[in-house]
Protein backbone atom coordinates (compact mmCIF):
# COMPACT_ATOMS: atom_id res chain seq x y z
CA UNK A 1 0.00 0.00 0.00
CA UNK A 2 1.14 3.55 -0.69
CA UNK A 3 2.00 5.51 2.43
CA UNK A 4 1.27 8.73 0.57
CA UNK A 5 -0.90 9.31 -2.43
CA UNK A 6 -1.60 12.44 -4.45
CA UNK A 7 -4.02 12.02 -7.30
CA UNK A 8 -4.92 14.77 -9.73
CA UNK A 9 -4.32 17.55 -7.24
CA UNK A 10 -5.45 21.04 -8.20
CA UNK A 11 -4.79 24.12 -6.16
CA UNK A 12 -4.96 27.83 -6.97
CA UNK A 13 -4.30 30.82 -4.80
CA UNK A 14 -6.44 33.90 -4.28
CA UNK A 15 -6.29 35.70 -7.59
CA UNK A 16 -6.79 32.53 -9.60
CA UNK A 17 -3.09 31.79 -9.95
CA UNK A 18 -2.81 28.04 -10.35
CA UNK A 19 0.02 26.39 -8.42
CA UNK A 20 -0.81 22.74 -9.00
CA UNK A 21 -2.75 21.37 -11.89
CA UNK A 22 -3.25 17.61 -11.84
CA UNK A 23 -0.20 16.59 -9.81
CA UNK A 24 -0.20 12.83 -9.27
CA UNK A 25 2.30 10.58 -7.55
CA UNK A 26 2.61 8.28 -4.58
CA UNK A 27 5.22 7.15 -2.09
CA UNK A 28 5.51 3.45 -1.34
CA UNK A 29 6.44 1.97 2.01
CA UNK A 30 10.15 2.21 2.75
CA UNK A 31 10.90 4.65 -0.05
CA UNK A 32 12.85 7.86 0.32
CA UNK A 33 11.47 10.30 -2.21
CA UNK A 34 13.10 13.63 -3.03
CA UNK A 35 10.58 16.27 -4.07
CA UNK A 36 12.31 18.75 -6.36
CA UNK A 37 11.40 21.85 -8.30
CA UNK A 38 12.25 25.50 -8.61
CA UNK A 39 10.99 27.99 -6.03
CA UNK A 40 7.26 28.37 -6.50
CA UNK A 41 6.87 25.00 -8.23
CA UNK A 42 4.37 23.90 -5.59
CA UNK A 43 6.48 21.64 -3.35
CA UNK A 44 5.44 23.29 -0.13
CA UNK A 45 1.83 23.53 -1.30
CA UNK A 46 1.76 19.77 -1.88
CA UNK A 47 3.36 19.09 1.49
CA UNK A 48 0.88 21.37 3.24
CA UNK A 49 -1.96 19.53 1.51
CA UNK A 50 -0.58 16.22 2.79
CA UNK A 51 -0.33 17.61 6.31
CA UNK A 52 -3.89 18.90 6.22
CA UNK A 53 -2.67 22.49 6.54
CA UNK A 54 -4.13 23.36 3.17
CA UNK A 55 -6.96 21.93 1.13
CA UNK A 56 -6.76 20.78 -2.46
CA UNK A 57 -9.52 22.26 -4.58
CA UNK A 58 -9.92 18.95 -6.28
CA UNK A 59 -8.17 15.62 -6.31
CA UNK A 60 -7.51 12.94 -3.76
CA UNK A 61 -4.94 12.89 -0.94
CA UNK A 62 -4.29 9.91 1.27
CA UNK A 63 -1.68 9.72 4.00
CA UNK A 64 -1.23 6.18 5.35
CA UNK A 65 -4.63 5.55 3.82
CA UNK A 66 -6.17 8.39 5.85
CA UNK A 67 -7.82 11.64 4.82
CA UNK A 68 -5.57 14.37 6.27
CA UNK A 69 -8.55 16.59 7.00
CA UNK A 70 -11.09 14.12 8.37
CA UNK A 71 -8.61 11.87 10.15
CA UNK A 72 -6.23 14.66 11.20
CA UNK A 73 -5.53 13.37 14.71
CA UNK A 74 -4.86 9.78 13.73
CA UNK A 75 -2.76 10.91 10.77
CA UNK A 76 -0.57 13.28 12.81
CA UNK A 77 0.05 10.57 15.35
CA UNK A 78 1.66 8.41 12.68
CA UNK A 79 3.50 11.08 10.67
CA UNK A 80 6.53 13.23 11.50
CA UNK A 81 6.95 16.69 10.01
CA UNK A 82 9.83 19.16 9.90
CA UNK A 83 9.92 22.30 7.81
CA UNK A 84 12.31 25.15 7.25
CA UNK A 85 9.96 27.71 8.70
CA UNK A 86 8.58 25.64 11.52
CA UNK A 87 7.98 27.71 14.60
CA UNK A 88 8.45 26.25 18.06
CA UNK A 89 7.03 28.31 20.94
CA UNK A 90 9.86 30.83 21.53
CA UNK A 91 9.37 31.31 25.27
CA UNK A 92 9.33 27.61 26.15
CA UNK A 93 12.34 25.71 27.31
CA UNK A 94 13.62 22.83 25.17
CA UNK A 95 12.76 20.40 27.92
CA UNK A 96 9.13 21.56 27.94
CA UNK A 97 8.79 21.38 24.16
CA UNK A 98 10.06 17.82 24.10
CA UNK A 99 7.93 16.90 27.11
CA UNK A 100 4.86 18.22 25.37
CA UNK A 101 5.50 15.99 22.38
CA UNK A 102 6.28 13.03 24.58
CA UNK A 103 2.88 13.37 26.25
CA UNK A 104 1.13 13.81 22.93
CA UNK A 105 2.35 10.62 21.29
CA UNK A 106 1.52 7.19 22.68
CA UNK A 107 4.31 5.56 20.68
CA UNK A 108 7.09 7.83 22.00
CA UNK A 109 10.43 6.00 22.08
CA UNK A 110 12.39 7.29 25.08
CA UNK A 111 15.44 5.31 24.07
CA UNK A 112 15.56 7.03 20.68
CA UNK A 113 14.95 10.35 22.40
CA UNK A 114 17.97 9.64 24.59
CA UNK A 115 20.16 8.71 21.63
CA UNK A 116 19.27 11.87 19.78
CA UNK A 117 19.79 14.06 22.83
CA UNK A 118 23.23 12.60 23.21
CA UNK A 119 24.05 13.24 19.59
CA UNK A 120 22.68 16.79 19.49
CA UNK A 121 24.24 19.59 21.43
CA UNK A 122 21.32 21.77 22.51
CA UNK A 123 20.84 22.48 26.17
CA UNK A 124 17.72 21.16 27.82
CA UNK A 125 17.25 24.29 29.84
CA UNK A 126 17.65 26.77 27.00
CA UNK A 127 14.64 28.70 25.80
CA UNK A 128 13.67 28.09 22.19
CA UNK A 129 14.33 31.72 21.23
CA UNK A 130 17.93 31.39 22.45
CA UNK A 131 18.70 28.41 20.20
CA UNK A 132 20.70 28.70 17.01
CA UNK A 133 18.94 27.79 13.78
CA UNK A 134 20.71 24.44 13.71
CA UNK A 135 19.81 23.65 17.32
CA UNK A 136 16.16 24.60 16.78
CA UNK A 137 16.02 22.29 13.76
CA UNK A 138 17.51 19.50 15.88
CA UNK A 139 14.80 19.95 18.47
CA UNK A 140 12.18 19.92 15.71
CA UNK A 141 13.67 16.75 14.21
CA UNK A 142 13.75 15.03 17.58
CA UNK A 143 10.09 15.91 18.14
CA UNK A 144 9.22 14.70 14.66
CA UNK A 145 10.90 11.30 14.85
CA UNK A 146 10.94 10.11 18.46
CA UNK A 147 7.43 8.71 18.13
CA UNK A 148 8.73 6.48 15.34
CA UNK A 149 6.48 7.80 12.57
CA UNK A 150 5.66 5.55 9.64
CA UNK A 151 6.08 8.51 7.32
CA UNK A 152 8.44 11.44 7.72
CA UNK A 153 7.73 14.59 5.71
CA UNK A 154 10.56 17.11 5.53
CA UNK A 155 10.12 20.46 3.81
CA UNK A 156 13.56 21.94 3.09
CA UNK A 157 14.85 20.42 6.33
CA UNK A 158 18.37 21.74 5.73
CA UNK A 159 17.28 25.20 4.58
CA UNK A 160 19.21 27.95 6.32
CA UNK A 161 21.58 25.56 8.10
CA UNK A 162 25.36 25.86 7.88
CA UNK A 163 27.21 22.96 6.24
CA UNK A 164 28.12 21.32 9.55
CA UNK A 165 24.55 21.43 10.87
CA UNK A 166 23.28 20.21 7.50
CA UNK A 167 25.59 17.22 7.58
CA UNK A 168 24.58 16.45 11.15
CA UNK A 169 20.94 16.48 10.10
CA UNK A 170 21.69 14.18 7.19
CA UNK A 171 23.62 11.76 9.39
CA UNK A 172 20.73 11.56 11.82
CA UNK A 173 18.24 10.94 9.02
CA UNK A 174 20.43 8.15 7.67
CA UNK A 175 20.66 6.52 11.07
CA UNK A 176 16.88 6.57 11.23
CA UNK A 177 16.67 5.01 7.79
CA UNK A 178 19.03 2.24 8.89
CA UNK A 179 16.66 1.46 11.72
CA UNK A 180 14.18 0.67 9.00
CA UNK A 181 10.50 1.05 8.49
CA UNK A 182 10.31 4.79 7.90
CA UNK A 183 9.27 6.19 4.54
CA UNK A 184 10.41 9.72 3.78
CA UNK A 185 9.24 12.51 1.50
CA UNK A 186 11.59 15.47 1.53
CA UNK A 187 11.97 18.61 -0.51
CA UNK A 188 15.40 20.12 -0.92
CA UNK A 189 17.45 22.49 -3.02
CA UNK A 190 20.65 20.71 -2.05
CA UNK A 191 21.11 18.24 -4.87
CA UNK A 192 24.06 16.57 -3.18
CA UNK A 193 21.85 15.79 -0.17
CA UNK A 194 19.22 14.42 -2.51
CA UNK A 195 21.81 12.17 -4.18
CA UNK A 196 22.86 10.89 -0.79
CA UNK A 197 19.39 10.26 0.61
CA UNK A 198 16.79 9.65 -2.05
CA UNK A 199 16.00 6.51 -3.94
CA UNK A 200 13.31 8.19 -5.99
CA UNK A 201 12.88 11.66 -7.45
CA UNK A 202 9.68 13.54 -8.17
CA UNK A 203 10.32 16.75 -10.08
CA UNK A 204 7.59 19.37 -10.14
CA UNK A 205 7.51 21.82 -12.99
CA UNK A 206 4.88 23.92 -14.65
CA UNK A 207 2.21 22.97 -12.08
CA UNK A 208 2.61 19.24 -12.62
CA UNK A 209 4.95 16.29 -12.13
CA UNK A 210 7.57 16.48 -14.88
CA UNK A 211 9.69 13.50 -13.85
CA UNK A 212 8.97 10.63 -11.49
CA UNK A 213 11.78 8.10 -11.55
CA UNK A 214 14.22 6.15 -9.44
CA UNK A 215 17.28 8.29 -8.81
CA UNK A 216 19.73 5.80 -10.34
CA UNK A 217 17.50 5.27 -13.36
CA UNK A 218 17.25 9.01 -13.79
CA UNK A 219 21.02 9.37 -13.59
CA UNK A 220 21.63 6.60 -16.08
CA UNK A 221 18.79 7.11 -18.52
CA UNK A 222 18.99 10.83 -19.18
CA UNK A 223 21.90 12.58 -20.83
CA UNK A 224 22.89 16.14 -21.60
CA UNK A 225 24.17 17.01 -25.07
CA UNK A 226 26.13 20.12 -25.89
CA UNK A 227 26.17 20.99 -29.60
CA UNK A 228 27.76 23.81 -31.55
CA UNK A 229 25.00 26.24 -32.52
CA UNK A 230 25.83 26.34 -36.20
CA UNK A 231 23.68 27.40 -39.07
CA UNK A 232 21.55 24.52 -40.23
CA UNK A 233 21.17 23.05 -36.79
CA UNK A 234 17.49 23.40 -36.16
CA UNK A 235 16.26 23.70 -32.61
CA UNK A 236 12.79 22.90 -33.92
CA UNK A 237 13.77 19.56 -35.45
CA UNK A 238 15.67 18.48 -32.36
CA UNK A 239 12.98 19.49 -29.91
CA UNK A 240 10.39 17.64 -32.00
CA UNK A 241 12.17 14.38 -31.15
CA UNK A 242 10.24 12.53 -28.46
CA UNK A 243 13.51 11.84 -26.65
CA UNK A 244 14.22 15.55 -26.21
CA UNK A 245 12.94 16.99 -22.94
CA UNK A 246 14.39 20.43 -23.39
CA UNK A 247 16.72 22.33 -25.63
CA UNK A 248 18.01 25.86 -25.36
CA UNK A 249 20.70 28.06 -26.79
CA UNK A 250 23.36 29.34 -24.51
CA UNK A 251 26.61 31.15 -25.28
CA UNK A 252 26.91 29.91 -28.83
CA UNK A 253 25.97 26.32 -28.05
CA UNK A 254 22.79 24.32 -28.01
CA UNK A 255 22.26 22.40 -24.80
CA UNK A 256 19.66 19.71 -24.59
CA UNK A 257 18.39 17.09 -22.15
CA UNK A 258 17.51 13.77 -23.74
CA UNK A 259 16.01 10.51 -22.61
CA UNK A 260 18.47 7.66 -23.06
CA UNK A 261 22.00 6.89 -21.90
CA UNK A 262 24.91 8.77 -23.43
CA UNK A 263 25.47 6.14 -26.09
CA UNK A 264 21.84 6.09 -27.21
CA UNK A 265 21.61 9.85 -27.29
CA UNK A 266 24.82 10.17 -29.29
CA UNK A 267 23.52 7.74 -31.87
CA UNK A 268 20.13 9.46 -32.02
CA UNK A 269 21.76 12.82 -32.64
CA UNK A 270 24.14 11.55 -35.29
CA UNK A 271 21.91 9.15 -37.17
CA UNK A 272 18.45 10.60 -36.91
CA UNK A 273 19.03 14.28 -36.46
CA UNK A 274 22.31 14.59 -38.37
CA UNK A 275 23.98 16.55 -35.59
CA UNK A 276 27.77 16.42 -35.77
CA UNK A 277 30.23 17.26 -33.05
CA UNK A 278 27.94 16.84 -30.07
CA UNK A 279 29.40 16.11 -26.65
CA UNK A 280 27.05 13.84 -24.76
CA UNK A 281 27.41 12.92 -21.11
CA UNK A 282 25.45 11.56 -18.22
CA UNK A 283 25.49 14.20 -15.55
CA UNK A 284 24.95 14.56 -11.82
CA UNK A 285 21.53 15.55 -10.55
CA UNK A 286 22.49 19.17 -10.01
CA UNK A 287 23.45 19.63 -13.65
CA UNK A 288 20.44 17.73 -14.89
CA UNK A 289 18.23 19.98 -12.79
CA UNK A 290 19.87 23.14 -14.15
CA UNK A 291 19.69 21.93 -17.74
CA UNK A 292 16.03 20.99 -17.36
CA UNK A 293 14.80 24.02 -15.48
CA UNK A 294 17.45 26.72 -15.68
CA UNK A 295 17.40 29.89 -17.76
CA UNK A 296 14.83 30.65 -20.42
CA UNK A 297 13.31 28.05 -22.68
Amino acid sequence: MSVLEFRDIHRSYGHGQEVLSGATFSVEKGQVVGLLGKNGAGKTTLIHIAMGMLRAQSGRVRVLGLDPEKDAVEMKRRVGFVSEDQILPPAMRVKQVIGLHRDLYPGWDTELEGQLRQRFNFSDRARVKALSKGEARQVALLCAVAHRPELLILDEPAGGLDPAARREFLETSIDLLSDGGTSILFSSHYMSDVERMADRIVLLHDRDVLIDAELDTLRESYAVAVMPAEAGLQIGAISASPACLRIRERQGTLRGVFRGNAEEVRSLLERELAVQGASVAQVPLEELFVELLGGNS
Binding site: L170, E171, S178, S192, D193, R196, D199, A262, P284
Partner: protein, 126 residues
Protein backbone atom coordinates in the same frame (compact mmCIF):
# COMPACT_ATOMS: atom_id res chain seq x y z
CA UNK B 1 39.98 0.24 3.06
CA UNK B 2 38.42 3.69 3.06
CA UNK B 3 35.79 4.32 0.39
CA UNK B 4 34.96 7.82 -0.74
CA UNK B 5 31.98 9.03 -2.67
CA UNK B 6 31.17 12.29 -4.38
CA UNK B 7 27.48 13.09 -4.95
CA UNK B 8 28.45 15.47 -7.78
CA UNK B 9 30.23 12.74 -9.74
CA UNK B 10 29.16 11.68 -13.21
CA UNK B 11 28.43 8.20 -11.84
CA UNK B 12 25.57 7.49 -9.44
CA UNK B 13 26.72 6.72 -5.90
CA UNK B 14 26.09 2.97 -6.05
CA UNK B 15 28.31 2.77 -9.15
CA UNK B 16 31.05 4.75 -7.39
CA UNK B 17 31.01 2.20 -4.57
CA UNK B 18 31.07 -0.70 -7.04
CA UNK B 19 33.97 0.82 -8.93
CA UNK B 20 36.05 1.46 -5.83
CA UNK B 21 35.59 -2.04 -4.48
CA UNK B 22 36.35 -3.53 -7.89
CA UNK B 23 39.46 -1.36 -8.17
CA UNK B 24 40.55 -2.40 -4.69
CA UNK B 25 40.22 -6.07 -5.61
CA UNK B 26 42.04 -5.64 -8.92
CA UNK B 27 44.76 -3.54 -7.30
CA UNK B 28 45.26 -6.09 -4.52
CA UNK B 29 44.16 -3.71 -1.75
CA UNK B 30 41.38 -6.12 -0.86
CA UNK B 31 41.98 -9.84 -0.82
CA UNK B 32 39.73 -12.87 -1.01
CA UNK B 33 38.10 -13.47 2.34
CA UNK B 34 38.37 -9.81 3.46
CA UNK B 35 35.23 -8.61 5.16
CA UNK B 36 33.33 -5.59 3.86
CA UNK B 37 31.59 -3.05 6.09
CA UNK B 38 27.91 -3.81 6.75
CA UNK B 39 25.21 -1.84 4.93
CA UNK B 40 24.59 0.14 8.05
CA UNK B 41 28.25 0.86 8.80
CA UNK B 42 29.05 1.96 5.27
CA UNK B 43 25.87 4.05 5.01
CA UNK B 44 26.76 5.86 8.24
CA UNK B 45 30.39 6.26 7.20
CA UNK B 46 29.64 7.67 3.74
CA UNK B 47 26.44 9.45 4.84
CA UNK B 48 24.28 7.85 2.18
CA UNK B 49 21.04 5.88 2.23
CA UNK B 50 21.52 2.26 3.34
CA UNK B 51 19.56 1.12 0.29
CA UNK B 52 22.29 2.55 -1.94
CA UNK B 53 24.90 0.39 -0.21
CA UNK B 54 22.64 -2.60 -0.57
CA UNK B 55 22.23 -1.93 -4.27
CA UNK B 56 26.00 -1.69 -4.82
CA UNK B 57 26.62 -4.92 -2.87
CA UNK B 58 23.80 -6.73 -4.68
CA UNK B 59 25.29 -5.82 -8.06
CA UNK B 60 28.80 -6.84 -6.99
CA UNK B 61 27.40 -10.10 -5.68
CA UNK B 62 25.60 -10.82 -8.93
CA UNK B 63 28.92 -10.24 -10.70
CA UNK B 64 30.45 -12.80 -8.34
CA UNK B 65 33.02 -10.43 -6.81
CA UNK B 66 31.65 -10.63 -3.29
CA UNK B 67 29.34 -12.94 -1.39
CA UNK B 68 27.19 -12.68 1.71
CA UNK B 69 27.15 -15.26 4.46
CA UNK B 70 23.97 -15.02 6.45
CA UNK B 71 24.62 -13.64 9.90
CA UNK B 72 28.35 -13.30 9.30
CA UNK B 73 28.70 -10.51 6.79
CA UNK B 74 29.86 -9.81 3.26
CA UNK B 75 33.23 -10.99 1.99
CA UNK B 76 35.46 -10.72 -1.07
CA UNK B 77 35.03 -13.91 -3.06
CA UNK B 78 37.84 -16.46 -3.32
CA UNK B 79 37.92 -16.64 -7.07
CA UNK B 80 36.67 -13.56 -8.80
CA UNK B 81 34.95 -14.63 -12.02
CA UNK B 82 36.69 -13.98 -15.28
CA UNK B 83 34.67 -12.03 -17.82
CA UNK B 84 34.35 -13.37 -21.32
CA UNK B 85 36.88 -11.48 -23.46
CA UNK B 86 34.14 -9.95 -25.65
CA UNK B 87 32.24 -8.69 -22.64
CA UNK B 88 35.39 -7.38 -20.99
CA UNK B 89 36.24 -5.50 -24.16
CA UNK B 90 32.75 -4.03 -24.38
CA UNK B 91 32.96 -2.71 -20.85
CA UNK B 92 36.35 -1.21 -21.52
CA UNK B 93 34.97 0.46 -24.62
CA UNK B 94 32.24 2.11 -22.53
CA UNK B 95 34.74 3.26 -19.97
CA UNK B 96 37.10 4.55 -22.65
CA UNK B 97 34.33 6.47 -24.33
CA UNK B 98 33.40 8.10 -21.05
CA UNK B 99 37.01 9.00 -20.43
CA UNK B 100 37.44 10.55 -23.87
CA UNK B 101 34.16 12.45 -23.62
CA UNK B 102 35.37 13.89 -20.35
CA UNK B 103 38.69 14.82 -21.98
CA UNK B 104 36.95 16.55 -24.90
CA UNK B 105 34.57 18.42 -22.63
CA UNK B 106 37.48 19.74 -20.60
CA UNK B 107 39.64 20.41 -23.64
CA UNK B 108 42.40 17.95 -22.69
CA UNK B 109 44.31 16.84 -25.84
CA UNK B 110 44.47 13.16 -26.81
CA UNK B 111 48.21 12.88 -26.20
CA UNK B 112 47.76 14.03 -22.62
CA UNK B 113 45.13 11.34 -22.13
CA UNK B 114 47.44 8.56 -23.31
CA UNK B 115 50.20 10.02 -21.17
CA UNK B 116 47.88 9.89 -18.20
CA UNK B 117 46.94 6.29 -18.97
CA UNK B 118 50.58 5.23 -19.00
CA UNK B 119 51.24 7.02 -15.76
CA UNK B 120 48.35 5.27 -14.02
CA UNK B 121 49.28 1.90 -15.57
CA UNK B 122 52.77 2.24 -14.06
CA UNK B 123 51.27 3.18 -10.69
CA UNK B 124 49.09 0.10 -10.65
CA UNK B 125 51.93 -2.35 -11.25
CA UNK B 126 52.39 -4.45 -8.15
Amino acid sequence: MQLQINPGDELPIYRQIMRQITDAIVGGHMKPGDKLASHRELAAQLVIAPLTVKKAYDELESEGLIHTQRGRGTFISEEPPVLRPAEARERLRDAARRLLTQARLSGVPYDDVTGLLEEIWEDMKP
